[in-house]
């Protein structure tokens, strides 16, 4: 599904190198977790995969189903089935959440050459997904993310993921700022989409989220590289020992 080869990335207009020859594979149906200390480049990795313009890829490839997506605009990557749940979702004042959802869903459909959703079909889908995630209807009428609590914003990300039906989803520190109840709802949203067709890359600093989303593989990231790969037990080990062993590995 997702394959990253020898990825080198620096901040555009600066010399600061953040990713330093990173390699990673996430197979169809797999839930992979990336754990690592602050500043190891986890968030940068997610942004670069999604196409944020602040970074410059100096070497390497990012393949989605065998196609190098690095030359594609962010919206093209989205239409190709890539979704990034943001650590800090943006507020869009004056734009009702429903309006935004419809615009996004139809934009992707259009780009894929599919017919736009009819309004009743759209509303049916939104209501179903919102009920599942415990999102009240009035929240859908409010401007996107404006005045939402941290938990509400994260739930809104999961709602968007559910509606956009991406094949590859990246969760960037989706657990940060969540209480246990919200965390469970978010995890359920992910787990509901786990099947042999979909893949997930879950980026987190803590083991906590992985109690609710059981990963197939765990990668440890440090100084812009994957330094260790293992099964779910690796997360527990990190929880017990911390990242100290990996700080100097790169």
């Amino acid at each position: 599904m997702l394959e990253i080869r020898n990825l080198h990335v620096k901040i555009a207009d600066e010399d600061k190198v953040i990713l330093n020859g990173l390699n990673l594979k996430v197979a169809k149906g797999e839930v992979a977790a990336i754990m690592g200390p602050n500043g190891s480049g986890k968030s940068t990795l997610s942004y670069v995969i999604a196409g944020k313009p602040d970074y410059e890829v100096t070497d390497g490839e990012v393949l989605l189903d065998g196609v190098n997506i690095l030359e594609m605009a962010p919206d093209e990557r989205a239409a190709a089935g890539l979704f990034l749940a943001f650590q800090y979702p943006m507020e869009i004042p004056g734009v009702a959440t429903m309006t935004f959802l419809k615009a996004a869903m139809n934009a992707q459909r259009k780009q894929r050459g599919e017919a736009e959703l009819t309004t009743p079909d759209f509303i049916k889908r939104v209501n179903k997904a919102a009920d599942l995630l415990g999102i009240p209807k009035d929240m859908l009428r409010r401007p996107l993310n404006v005045g939402f609590s941290g938990g509400e914003k994260k739930r809104m990300e999961i709602l968007q993921m559910t509606l956009l039906e991406p094949k590859m989803s990246i969760m960037d520190e989706t657990d940060s700022g969540l209480d246990i109840d919200a965390l469970k709802i978010v995890a359920e949203g992910v787990n509901a989409r786990r099947d042999p067709e979909h893949a997930f890359l879950v980026i987190t600093h803590y083991q906590r989220l992985l109690d609710y989303i059981k990963p197939d593989t765990v990668h440890v990231m440090s100084r812009g590289q994957i330094v260790k790969t293992g099964g779910a037990e690796l997360a527990l080990e990190l929880e017990a020992n911390g990242y100290r062993d990996y700080q100097s590995a790169a």
Binding site: D54, D75, G94, Q108
Partner: protein, 490 residues
């Protein structure tokens, strides 16, 4: 929701930044020599067969204008205007006033058709619900070519015609009200307008009448080197209501053209006027060549108690905009509103805002201004809120938001607040924000293109004001804003 989608579609349909209404109509015109003298004023007045008092009024204005100097306090820059190098009157050649549409030059009818302005009543009547009908006064350069639905409006007692016709048919009404809101000597451009105004609309709503349809005037500058000086006068008698909309376009020309209009609104006890403008004069090219100088004086007088005047403007065109639709809140309990969206792109300069003059007791006003600057444009909000000594319990709420797109444009907010009574409550809020790369990236991650994302964010920004426009115009305005911002991202 559908409107937003429509905006997005509209933006998609157009691949380059383009002024849609830049075409030129080839019509034989009648114009006196360029330049401005007493003879020009006499010519205009004679051409319109005006009563003697009107000519005297104009001549008085002209003499005063010669003693005045152009204002320079606005944050706009342009080369000195040569007032002797302008045509002050340009009318399509015809034998007398057209009695029906069949007598109007087909080229002119075609021009309005291209602009999407319906002038044939029969066509409008077909398939349109009566409450959604709009009566149109079409002003082409210096003259009104047609006013629709006059007969039907007359049944309700409403007078809707060109000001030239009003001077023939209702001279007493014009004489009673003209210049009572914007005095002859109000300012340089208003005085100029008083001397040489050529046409415009006249509306009179009698006591207790709710105007049965939307009224609108569509101004078109076509002729080269011609100034358009129109004058609009709207009177709403006790307990009446009218909603009025004006639209403006001009051909794409390399020279700058002057548009100096005066609009006067008067509301008596419990009357209400809702005045909406969608201004889309040619803005000039990307390097600032050509475009309209839009130097306009608009003012409403809430003369009666509990009367209301509401200005809504969507300003996307003109090379330079100098415009402050204002309210004089004279009647006790009267209310003034100003809702504005001013979009500037390219090299456009906007200095616009409002004045809310509280004179009566318990008067209230509300100002919502949304400025959007892109390209290398400069966008200034300039507003005055004042309360007279006797304006006890006056209240104002002002909200000025500016949105910047890119890093070469400017947004400026210049609010003046004066209160001579301790019982007044004035609130002022202002924000300046930039469409951030992060917001754009977020929207694009969800599948929206850069243009769609910008259109969505801008529509969100201006939503409060768009809601004030009549429904069909809100959709139009939304499209216009997106088109104006074409090419501002990327």
């Amino acid at each position: 929701m559908p409107a937003v989608q429509e905006t997005i579609d509209q933006v998609k349909a157009i691949d380059v930044s383009e002024y849609k209404y830049g075409f030129i109509t080839d019509v034989e015109m009648e114009k006196p020599a360029k330049g401005l003298t007493e003879d020009t004023v006499r010519y205009i007045s004679a051409r319109k067969n005006e009563p003697a008092w009107m000519l005297e009024w104009r001549l008085d204005a002209f003499r005063r204008w010669k003693t005045m100097t152009e204002p320079s306090w606005a944050r706009v820059h342009y080369p000195e205007i040569d007032f002797q190098d302008i045509y002050y009157y340009a009318a399509p050649k015809m034998n007398g006033a057209p009695k029906s549409l069949d007598e109007v030059d087909p080229a002119i009818l075609d021009a309005y058709k291209k602009l999407g302005i319906p002038l044939r009543e029969q066509e409008i009547l077909a398939g349109v619900e009566p409450q959604n009908r709009v009566a149109v006064d079409a002003v082409f350069d210096s003259v009104s070519v047609v006013t629709t639905f006059r007969a039907e409006l007359a049944k309700a007692g409403v007078i809707f015609c060109s000001i030239s016709d009003a001077l023939q048919e209702h001279p007493e009404l014009v004489r009673k009200y003209i210049g009572t809101v914007v005095p002859v000597t109000d300012n340089y451009y208003a005085t100029l307008n008083s001397a040489v105004f050529t046409d415009g609309s006249f509306v009179y709503i009698p006591k207790g009448v709710r105007c049965p349809m939307e009224l609108s005037t569509y101004f078109r500058i076509n002729e080269k080197n011609t100034g358009q000086f129109e004058r609009t006068l709207i009177i709403a008698e006790e307990g009446s209501y009218v909603s009025y909309l004006e639209g403006c376009t001009a051909p794409q020309r390399d020279e700058n053209q002057l548009h100096a209009a005066v609009v006067e609104l008067i509301t008596m006890d419990d009357a209400e006027i809702k005045y909406s403008t969608v201004q889309n004069w040619y803005p000039g090219d990307a390097n600032g060549k050509g475009g309209i100088y839009n130097f306009v004086t608009k003012r409403g007088d809430c003369r009666g108690k509990n009367s209301k005047i509401s200005w809504t403007q969507v300003e996307t065109g003109s090379a330079i905009t100098w415009k402050y639709p204002s309210c004089i809140l004279r009647g006790d309990g009267s209310r003034g509103e100003f809702y504005s969206i001013a979009v500037s792109n390219g090299m456009q300069q906007v200095d616009s805002g409002t004045k809310m003059i509280h004179l009566g007791k318990n008067t209230t006003s509300r100002i919502i201004s949304k400025g959007i600057s892109a390209g290398r444009s400069q966008n200034t909000y300039r507003g005055l809120v004042s309360a007279h000594r006797k304006a006890t319990n006056a209240r104002n709420f002002t909200n000025c938001d500016s949105l910047l797109i890119g890093n070469q444009c400017g947004a400026h907010t210049v609010p003046y607040i004066e209160s001579k009574t301790s019982t007044a409550t004035f609130e002022h809020e202002a924000t300046t924000s930039k469409i951030s790369e992060d917001q754009l990236f977020y929207c694009m991650q969800r599948g929206l293109s850069a243009e769609d994302a910008t259109a969505l964010i801008v529509n969100g920004f201006v939503k409060d004001v768009l809601q004030q426009l009549p429904m069909e115009f809100a959709v139009e305005a939304q499209k216009l804003i997106s088109i104006s911002l074409e090419g501002s991202v990327g």
